[in-house]
């Protein structure tokens, strides 16, 4: 029997496949397609202290092998998530969930994470310091080691749950940011968020997205994601959740060999609601193809 289990800072997952934040809502839209308990976990929509409507539309643009989004962290706010979404999730998902948290100031990140402390359903906090769609004159904490470390320290002070910092790929040296987070006490890292991109509509001569730029996700970014996971896994000792363009069991295996202890599946869920399920079900055969008995054995196999 193929052993698909992986472990993230003590949290044992039945398999490494986690739908990525922003592509799975709070789960409700997918529970009609399949039983969500087959998932390793899922990372819910990026949640902020205050409710947010997000950016004006169009928020979506088609790209070769991927898509741009500029949703801008639309969410009902942390209090509504704790009061309504988590109880809702409890009715159809019976495993620890990953809480993805966004913010605009260090204090905001900390306040949000402190509130989550009271939610036993949350097994891990994923702190998104890298959303490319919300620099409202504010800082993208993920683009500097100092910024990412400051958020890490503040969050670690207010929670006992494992804290994973979600890194931006829009930097020159991702290993430096990763190391700064590790030193600041992060339990793990999530990467990559989307690459900043743009499409222009030749008919209107304007950017397709109302916001101008957006975040590129999907298969197009897979090689960049593998490279960054590889660089980060080489640089730190804490676990890495790898994502970016994963849409098959083979890509899960490739990402884990690059150093990912678990993986997230993002845009693939949008074009095929069964994507995460299909990947999980294809994993045992893929493992057999490559002579893998225990999936956790291959984490970082290519780093040697």
């Amino acid at each position: 029997m193929a052993d698909l289990r992986v472990s993230l800072s003590g949290l044992v997952l039945d398999n490494p496949v986690i739908p990525a934040s922003g592509t799975f809502g709070y789960g409700a839209e997918f529970k009609n397609f399949y039983d969500l308990d087959i998932l390793g976990s899922f990372s819910f929509k990026g949640t902020t202290l205050q409710p947010r409507f997000g950016n004006p539309t169009p928020r979506i643009a088609e790209c070769p092998g991927g898509m741009l989004n500029a949703v801008g962290l639309q969410n009902p706010g942390i209090d509504a998530v704790l009061a309504h979404e988590l109880p809702q999730i409890a009715t159809f998902f019976h495993k620890p969930v990953i809480a993805n948290i966004g913010g605009f100031t260090v204090e905001e990140f900390a306040t949000c994470c402190a509130k989550i402390e009271s939610a036993p359903q949350v097994g891990l906090i994923e702190v998104n310091v890298s959303c490319p769609n919300v620099h409202e004159g504010g800082v993208n904490f993920g683009s500097t080691p100092e910024g990412a470390a400051a958020v890490t320290r503040a969050v670690k002070q207010v929670t006992s749950k494992p804290v994973y910092i979600k890194l931006s790929p829009n930097v020159g040296d991702i290993a430096a940011v990763a190391k700064a987070c590790e030193e600041a006490g992060a339990d793990g890292l999530s990467l990559i968020n989307t690459l900043v991109g743009m499409r222009i509509d030749p008919k209107t001569r304007r950017p397709v997205l109302a916001n101008g730029m957006g975040g590129l996700s999907g298969p197009a970014i897979f090689p960049v994601a593998v490279r960054m996971v590889y660089q980060v896994a080489k640089a730190v000792r804490i676990p890495v959740i790898g994502m970016g363009g994963i849409d098959s069991a083979d890509k899960v295996i490739e990402m884990m060999m690059a150093g990912a202890a678990a993986v997230q599946v993002g845009a693939a869920n949008l074009v095929d609601p069964y994507a995460s399920k299909d990947i999980i079900e294809a994993l045992p055969a893929a493992m057999q193809r490559y002579g893998i008995a225990r999936l956790s054995d291959i984490v970082g196999a290519a780093l040697a």
Binding site: N32, G54, T57, M67
Partner: protein, 248 residues
Amino acid sequence: MERQGFYTITENRPLTGQVYKMVLAGDTTPLTAPGQFVNVKVEGCYLRRPISVADWDDGTLTLLYKLVGEGTHRMAQATPGAQLDLLCGLGNGYDTTACHRTALLLGGGVGVPPLYGLAKRLLAEGKTPVVLLGFGNAQEVFYTQEFAALGCKVLLATVDGSAGTKGYVTDLLRQVEVPYDYFYTCGPEPMLRAVYGACSTSGQLSFEERMGCGFGACMGCSCKTLTGAKRICKDGPVLCKEEVLWQT
């Protein structure tokens, strides 16, 4: 309830230079209301393409689609017998119970398709749809005969006057000779605004937005309404006149 499935193309041919009709055989049980749509996987494109269901029965559904960019051009190349991967039964669709006796159906361009299924449903419920259709010019006109064949009164406008009345759909309102108690509309946003302003009854408007998923997961298609944020793909595409909040 939305569902994913494979559908077999039984017909795919041009109605005009730019608009194609595609008939697909497969499971239509996910469809519950006119005005719902499907999201079509097109080989070579990353995102699916949302297209309204113009008509459906127990085993087939009809799409009427305009050639716009790569996705719809590729759809036009598909041949009968080929299989298409659809997400079916998406969106809320029109609520026909809101109309009591006579409804105006106002459609512009590729906003016309969902009104066909709506007209059929209204007729089945014993109500009277009066159909007002607008196109750019005579070459672009499609489906007027199909509406007429249902037994509907059909009024036609073209922008250049090459067929029917010269002008917009709303210019046809003064030709409506029966009292109506409700309206249903679908078309480009400027048309929706004009209809919203011109029709004094209550009504329902179907909106378009660029979509990431089509089933409510990504928040790509959100719009602000007087009753809060709504996802065009899941809580829409049909909004009631009373909740519409126009962005400037």
